[in-house]
């Protein structure tokens, strides 16, 4: 299994969780975070700080999510993402939602 970690400016919360769901992701965990990066600026203080979105997924979904995020957001938004190998028990829980996966 893979853990996908996405750090994003808060504004994109809905867009990114939507994207995850479309890829069949079954669950995710979100933490508030601050950060510094190449852009060196938090575009909207009022929207709250960065968010860190973590989701456990199968390898295939993990790669697809990484590609999509990179393609759609890396150029113009304060978004960073990485992939980690993890071990889980009862892995079925993290397999993609079937009807979404076959899309």
């Amino acid at each position: 299994m893979k853990l996908v970690t996405i750090v994003t400016e808060g504004l994109l919360k809905d867009q990114i969780t939507e994207l995850l769901k479309q890829q069949g992701v079954r669950g995710f965990t979100i933490t508030r975070a601050d950060g510094e990066g190449s852009r060196g600026i938090n575009a909207s203080h009022w929207e709250g700080p960065n968010l860190k979105i973590e989701t456990i997924v199968t390898d295939a979904v993990g790669r697809r999510v990484m590609d999509l995020i990179s393609e759609k957001y890396f150029d113009h938004y304060a978004v960073v993402a990485w992939l980690t190998d993890v071990e889980v028990l009862r892995g079925e829980k993290f397999s993609p939602v079937p009807d979404e996966d076959t899309k």
Binding site: E9, L11, R32, R39, G40, I41, A43, S44, H45, W46, E47, G48, P49, H76, Y77
Partner: protein, 315 residues
């Protein structure tokens, strides 16, 4: 001059200054973001509620003129801003359009600071003004986005949704409607929370805003003198037009001054969120720095007393 100093030596202006100093001396002072968001929610609701009560006491006919003027300026100011930002500021089309959206919209905190400054000068400002803030908030952003002429498909639509359902407008409008529906008597039950401590909450809010604005200052050098100059000229221009026009259509001295400050202000809450979504290529380092790092302090220190003086002269 005395008016200027009188305006500067007020708790809220000094709170803003204190925030700037905190940043400069690298103090570890920070308002936790949950508190900051709580303060914003409070301020927006309170502005709305107060305005709503006033609306419930204002004959609709009296509103027609001011509302039309607000709409007109909401459409015009993004154009003037766009042109100046292109010509004087030397910005590219997208950055100029993004920034113009900010100058077309309005900063609720500048509005409130103007209200307080005017109150201090004992020149009554009409109670319905917060309703105009709500009216002014949206059109400028839309015009600004249209000026970019190349938002991604769906960009404008989702930006519009962002503006209209964004907490900024939502809370102010919500408060406005509740205030109108409930009227003065019922709202008085929540006045010890929403009305009396208002200025103190504003004090805290400006402390944080000072910290944030100061963290924009280091971008000023990078932005260059052209943008700083434009960030001072735009509010002067817009405020002068608005104050004069307001006096012309018969608004009271105090109202005209506050109205001038409103139109002169640049949004740093609703606009950045919408622009970020519709025009991701525009640089927040430019529009945020201009709105919050240049124009907000300019208005707080110079703009407001200027428009007040102007309103007194023209009426």
């Amino acid at each position: 001059m005395e008016l200027l100093i009188q305006n500067l030596v007020s708790p809220v202006v000094l709170a803003f200054l204190l925030g700037i100093i905190a940043r400069m001396v690298r103090s570890d002072l920070e308002i936790p973001s949950a508190i900051y968001q709580g303060l914003s929610i409070y301020l927006l609701l309170a502005i709305g509620l107060k305005g709503g009560v006033a609306l419930s006491q204002t004959p609709p006919a009296e509103l027609v003129g001011p509302v039309l003027l607000t709409l007109a300026l909401g459409v015009l100011t993004p154009f003037s801003a766009f042109i100046l930002l292109r010509k004087l500021g030397k910005l590219g089309r997208i950055d100029a359009a993004a920034t113009a959206a900010h100058y077309g919209s309005v900063s609720a905190v500048t509005f409130v600071a103007a209200i307080e400054a005017v109150k201090h000068s004992d020149i009554p400002a009409a109670g319905y003004l917060p309703a105009l803030v709500a009216v002014l908030e949206v059109p400028g952003i839309i015009v600004g986005l249209l000026l970019a002429r190349q938002s991604q498909s769906g960009g404008i639509k989702s930006a519009l949704h962002e503006v209209l359902t964004g907490k900024s407008i939502f809370l102010m409008l919500g408060g406005l409607i509740i205030g109108t529906v409930c009227g003065a008597e019922k709202v008085s039950t929540i006045a010890p929370f929403f009305i009396d401590p208002f200025k103190g909450v504003l004090f805290l809010f400006l402390l944080e805003l000072g910290i944030v604005a100061a963290s924009r200052f280091r971008d000023l050098a990078q932005a260059g003198w052209r943008l700083v100059l434009t960030g001072c000229l735009l509010p002067t221009l817009h405020g002068t037009i608005a104050t004069t026009a307001a006096t012309y259509i018969g608004m009271s001295t105090g109202s005209a001054a506050v109205f001038g400050a409103m139109v002169a202000s640049a949004s740093y809450i609703a606009a950045p969120a919408a622009v970020r979504i519709a025009l991701p290529k525009a640089s927040p380092g430019i529009y945020l720095t201009m709105a919050l790092g240049v124009t907000f302090p300019f208005n707080l220190a110079i703009g407001i007393p200027l428009f007040l003086k102007l309103a007194q002269l023209t009426s």
